[in-house]
């Protein structure tokens, strides 16, 4: 039996932590229906008007779409460049490997603003105009380590022998990747994509300095929060939480189908 310790104490503590995590989210949700100009007490009554306002707010809708666009771009970048990096780190010894690993991990510990300022200086030097793409490149660099660490950990766990067996049976590089490596890392890769997208979707620090004329959702909210705050802000956040839950659950169920295969 795995469980030990005072069950009711552990459960109570765990539930308190969950309550701590969800209290502001519940407050946020409740006040998205508040029939008042302000997102605070008193609660004047139930209304959908902030959701209606949201769907008429072109700036808000555009920035949601911009965030999705940037997030998808970040996912593509971190898969295209992160998976090869993870494979290189897993399979080969090469000079400078330790330094390469540190450089890759650096954006995790670095304040986003620092990544931002370095890239902004670089963009200004090469006269690259700030746009959604400059954000994408910045976030892609910062979040690539998520893909690299997740995929690397899975590759280490999988071991070498399946790939060796495939090579031993005469498979070429592409056949080994398609039949062994990719099926092995699929669920880890999916998880990394999910995490990279969700962090990108809510990213402010790197984005802050790299934004041109088009704003992502957090940047729009940031400018709103510094001026006047209406419950429309709560409505946006609430809507996104529900959409994301649906997406995550659907995605996890889709990927769970082949999750038990790697046990073998």
């Amino acid at each position: 039996m795995r469980a030990f310790g005072n069950r009711s104490l552990v459960t109570t503590l765990a539930m308190s932590v969950l309550a701590f995590l969800y209290a502001p989210i519940l407050v946020m949700m409740v006040f998205s229906f508040n029939d008042s100009q302000y997102t605070g007490l008193p609660f004047n009554g139930f209304t959908f008007r902030w959701y209606e306002a949201l769907f008429r707010d072109d700036q808000m809708l555009t920035s949601i779409w911009n965030s999705v666009y940037v997030g998808l771009g970040v996912v593509v970048i971190s898969v295209l460049f992160g998976v090869p990096a993870a494979i290189a780190l897993d399979r080969y010894e090469f000079p400078g490997k330790g330094m390469f690993r540190r450089i890759v991990m650096l954006p995790i510990v670095l304040p986003g603003i620092i990544t931002g300022i370095a890239l902004l200086g670089f963009y200004l030097t090469i006269h690259l105009r700030l746009s959604l793409y400059t954000i994408m490149l910045g976030q892609g660099t910062a979040l690539m380590c998520v893909t690299i660490t997740e995929v690397f950990a899975r590759l280490q766990q999988l071991g070498k022998s399946q790939a060796e067996a495939a090579a031993n049976l005469g498979a070429n590089d592409w056949e080994i990747f398609k039949n062994v490596t990719f099926p092995g890392i699929r669920s880890a890769l999916f998880g990394a994509m999910l995490i990279a997208f969700s962090i990108s979707f809510d990213e402010i620090a790197v984005t802050f300095l790299l934004t041109g004329r088009e704003n992502t959702l957090p940047m729009t909210l940031w400018s709103l929060l510094r001026r006047e705050v209406t419950p429309e802000v709560n409505a946006v956040a609430t809507l996104i939480v529900f959409l994301s839950i649906i997406l995550i659950v659907a995605g996890m169920y889709a990927s769970r189908g082949n999750a038990n295969e790697r046990e073998a």
Binding site: V109, F122, I240
Partner: protein
């Protein structure tokens, strides 16, 4: 004679060289990410270095080879004190989130009985990521502010007569907000480590007569250290670089290092100074990675 030489020649070329292929493969996998990190990290850092060695005169950048800006980071107020303060906030956040995260990770790893419930709770840990950071931080204001839910509630219960202002606009409220925001990272990190503990270990300990507290203190806690360390590094780093919480819930003097950098760029146009601070923090970051790698290696339990 010629025919023999020819057959030898053919035999040689018909065999591909494994060593050459191995080198080509490494090249193939390594070059794209290496190129990416060179272009989007190393070259920008080099640009940063170039900028930091110059200075600004009358809003114009003058290139130079002076280390003045680096000296200023450590000698001129408020740079060093703000870095130290940011580190202190980062440390408090790391400590608080480890403490808050541990019971939930523990519950998830040892007390959840069905896979379905485990999946549900795991999901509940991840979902807060999706609720906008800004809106969540703002929601704390709604709860903790002088006209907020907590104060109104306490007043209506007669616990206090005046609104308590202690909860907001000070360094502690920054610590708490950041702890709240980054705790899920710590939960996942500690959980991943606890999940590795073999069930047989607990059964063996119980079989030897250990009670729950002893199992926790002597077995589970030491094993969980690398997970706690990994989570603490992430929460520390995220909190250290934050600039939103000080603006939303911090007091008038609670600027952190990222706010200083933003002000240097946006208000003072002092790029070289900002670049110097950036490089100092990059060096500190590299140190932190090396230290954390060493620490996790040292504390890791092999099964």
């Amino acid at each position: 004679m010629t025919t023999i030489e020819q057959t030898v020649e053919i035999k040689r070329t018909s065999i591909r060289s494994a060593r050459a292929i191995e080198r080509r493969r490494l090249f193939l996998w390594l070059v794209p990410p290496l190129a990416w990190f060179t272009i989007f990290m190393l070259i920008p850092y080099a640009t940063l270095l170039y900028t930091s060695l110059g200075h600004v005169d009358d809003m114009r950048f003058i290139p130079g080879l002076s280390l003045d800006n680096f000296v200023r980071v450590f000698t001129v107020d408020p740079y060093l004190s703000v870095i130290i303060k940011s580190a202190r906030i980062g440390l408090m956040t790391a400590v608080f989130s480890s403490i808050v995260a541990y019971p939930l990770a523990f519950y998830l790893a040892f007390h959840v009985r069905t896979q379905r419930l485990k999946f549900l709770i795991y999901l509940l840990v991840i979902v807060p990521w999706w609720a906008s950071y800004l809106v969540k931080a703002y929601a704390w204001k709604t709860i903790l502010g002088s006209g907020g839910i907590l104060n109104v509630g306490m007043q209506s219960l007669g616990l206090v007569h005046e609104p308590v202002r202690l909860f907001l606009y000070n360094e502690f409220s920054v610590d708490m907000t950041l702890t709240y925001i980054f705790t899920p990272f710590a939960v996942l990190s500690i959980y991943a480590q606890l999940e590795r503990v073999p069930t047989s270990l607990i059964e063996a300990a119980r079989n030897l007569g250990a009670d729950g507290w002893m199992i926790f203190r002597r077995i589970i806690l030491p094993i969980s250290v690398p997970g706690v360390v990994a989570g603490a590094i992430i929460t520390f780093s995220l909190a250290f670089g934050d600039f939103v919480a000080p603006v939303l819930v911090g007091g008038p003097d609670s600027v952190m290092i990222s706010n200083v950098v933003i002000n240097l760029l946006g208000v003072a146009f002092d790029w070289p100074m900002a670049a110097a601070i950036g490089l100092v923090i990059i060096s500190l970051g590299l140190l932190l990675i090396s230290a954390s790698g060493w620490l996790e290696e040292r504390t890791q339990t092999r099964f």
